[in-house]
């Protein structure tokens, strides 16, 4: 089962890689965006889907990494490797600090705490003007160079994002089938049972929380380069809410589902924006629709039917 799914995913990645040169620039940039949010959604799935921890602060780590990259690249002219390391490190450290507070709580408490912590980061982005430039954000982030390869045009950047997404998917896929990942699933099922079996539940949850922040940071690094602009909207609540919907829509606990959910939301958002400005209205309606009619998400519903 796992091997077959990996094969499918490899085929999808290969198909994307082969198709990309034939695509016009606009669909290509949308696909790039879908890949970036796919990484973000997968990072959240480790918490929500596998560990049963509904985080509403995922944009905090995404945004922290994006800000780090944007500031270092524009003000210090730091290259790709330095920016990526700094961004991912900042996201990881933020998650490590927030995790100490959030992991003490479960269920609804966890949701509220992660939301409030996420808003703290938003508040810093918005009000700490001397560092973050406040509402104006950091603009003019240049696309990086990878060795001799210039990532400025859409196609090379797409390939870059594709490789990073494939790597993230592989690593997270290995994580969730590892003994550690199975421990997380056990915690989702029953925390007290895992405790009784001698598992260090706190440590499992904490490590999952920090790793989730790390991968959200990976997505944030890509986003800063992709968008060329980082502002408070990247760390706002709606971004975390969108990430949560991507997971819920695709199917929590399936890894590939949230990535699909991310793709759908990105395409829907861009498609809708051509016709109307009422994106939040539609996002809200999709949210309610998913909860009412597909509580297991798309992939969850498909797997349920097969059984």
């Amino acid at each position: 089962m796992i091997r077959r799914r990996s094969l499918y995913a490899a085929l999808v990645f290969a198909a994307l890689a082969l198709l990309a040169p034939a695509l016009p620039p606009y669909p290509l940039t949308l696909l790039t965006q879908a890949l970036i949010f796919g990484i973000l959604a997968m990072s959240l799935d480790v918490l929500l889907g596998y560990t049963g921890l509904p985080s509403l602060g995922q944009a905090a780590y995404f945004g922290a990494a994006a800000y780090a990259v944007a500031l270092l690249a524009t003000e210090r002219q730091v290259g790709l490797v330095g920016c990526a390391v700094a961004g991912i490190a900042l996201a990881t450290v933020t998650a490590a600090v927030f995790g100490v507070i959030a992991i003490r709580a479960t269920g609804t408490y966890f949701l509220m705490i992660t939301l409030a912590l996420g808003m703290v980061v938003w508040g810093l982005a918005f009000r700490w003007v001397s560092l973050t430039k406040g509402d104006n954000g950091v603009s003019g982030v240049p696309r990086p160079e990878l060795g001799a390869l210039d990532l400025t045009p859409p196609l090379p950047f797409f390939y870059f994002a594709l490789v990073v997404a494939a790597l993230a998917w592989t690593l997270l896929g290995l994580l969730v089938i590892s003994p550690f990942g199975l421990g997380l699933k056990g915690i989702r099922g029953s925390e007290s049972r895992m405790q009784a079996l001698g598992y260090n539940v706190w440590l499992h949850k904490y490590v999952a929380f920090v790793l989730s922040g790390t991968f959200a940071g990976v997505a944030g690094v890509l986003w800063a380069y992709y968008n060329g602009f980082v502002g408070p909207t990247d760390v706002q609540l709606v971004t975390s809410v969108e990430a949560l919907l991507m997971v819920a829509l695709g199917g929590p606990g399936t890894l590939v589902g949230p990535a699909i959910g991310a793709g759908l939301i990105v395409f829907l958002k861009n498609f809708v924006s051509v016709y109307t400005k009422r994106w939040l209205l539609i996002l809200g309606a999709v949210y309610i629709g998913v909860i009412l009619f597909a509580p297991q998400g798309i992939v969850g519903a498909m797997r349920g039917r097969r059984r």
Binding site: I113, L237, L280
Partner: protein, 286 residues
């Protein structure tokens, strides 16, 4: 840092805490009975402010605005509970996600109806101006907010502690299944509490609009404050909501006055501290 600074800022903090109490007490009650965190609670606050604004501009009556905002949003909350949330009874995450959906819809609808400009809700002449005591200045409107919160707090306490309906609600908070078993209509109690919570948030919204204004995004800006209040005070506890509101109001106000760039950070400290010492909040039960 004169004595006046401390007195004025403390008073501002207390009055902001009073506003937070209106918002957070409903959130806490709803959680107590239904075990869900209502993500649309900030939306009720904002929508209450907008409805109040429209009414006050049409009728010139502040009292009418308070009444209209409160009743309208209570009905919105009632509809949400009865038509949507009830279908997901027992599915906590599903219910929370659904309230997020509503919060997004409300935000966009408010933008559609009232536009993107910030407004100030005109307050009656009797409530404007300020009192002076020594060098300290006390705006009358802020005194009014504290008075409203005190009245609401006492009324809630009387309702919960001294009436039959309150006893039913308390029973549902303690053990919904057992309450249902002894003949208490828990779904009806949920509906009542949800509407009451929405009405309180809207009341806070109309009154808060008098000094914070109403603007797009106010919903999500105020929501974490309400959350931190109930995290600090303990979910489902009225005294907790009171203590939490005061603490958060004071800390936030001093934080903003002393470190303006790090204002939201003032939320972080009390939450981290309380959770480290008492994970269920000051008055919460595990």
């Amino acid at each position: 840092m004169t004595a006046e600074f401390w007195i004025t800022q403390s008073f501002n903090g207390i009055s902001y805490g009073a506003l937070l109490f209106l918002l957070a007490s409903g959130l806490s009650l709803i959680f107590g009975v239904m075990r869900i965190v209502n993500m649309a609670h900030g939306s009720y606050f904002m929508l209450g402010g907008y409805v109040g604004l429209t009414v006050v501009l049409r009728t010139r009556s502040f009292a009418l605005a308070v009444l209209a905002g409160t009743v309208a949003i209570a009905l919105v909350g009632m509809g949400m509970e009865r038509l949507f949330l009830r279908r997901l009874r027992g599915e906590e995450l599903g219910q929370v996600l659904m309230t997020i959906g509503f919060a997004l819809i409300f935000q966009d609808l408010a933008l559609l109806i009232w536009g993107g400009d910030p407004y100030n809700l005109p307050v009656p002449a009797a409530l404007s101006g300020s009192l002076r005591a020594g060098g300290a200045v006390f705006p009358v409107y802020r005194i009014f907010i504290v008075a409203v919160a005190v009245v609401v707090g006492i009324a809630l306490w009387l309702l919960l502690d001294r009436t039959r309906a309150g006893a039913m609600i308390r029973a549902a908070v303690d053990d919904a299944e057992m309450a249902q078993g002894v003949g208490i209509n828990v779904p009806r109690a949920s509906l009542a509490v949800f509407s009451l919570g929405a009405a309180l948030a809207a009341l806070g919204g109309v009154i808060g609009a008098g000094f914070l204004g109403v603007y797009p995004g106010a919903d999500f800006e105020v929501l974490p404050y309400a959350f931190v209040v109930v995290i600090v005070g303990g979910l489902g506890s009225l005294p907790g909501a009171m203590a939490g509101s005061l603490l958060v109001g004071l800390l936030d106000n001093f934080g903003k006055a002393l470190f303006p760039e790090l204002s939201y950070f003032t939320l972080f400290a009390p939450m981290a501290l309380i959770l480290a010492i008492r994970p269920t909040g000051l008055f919460g039960r595990s």
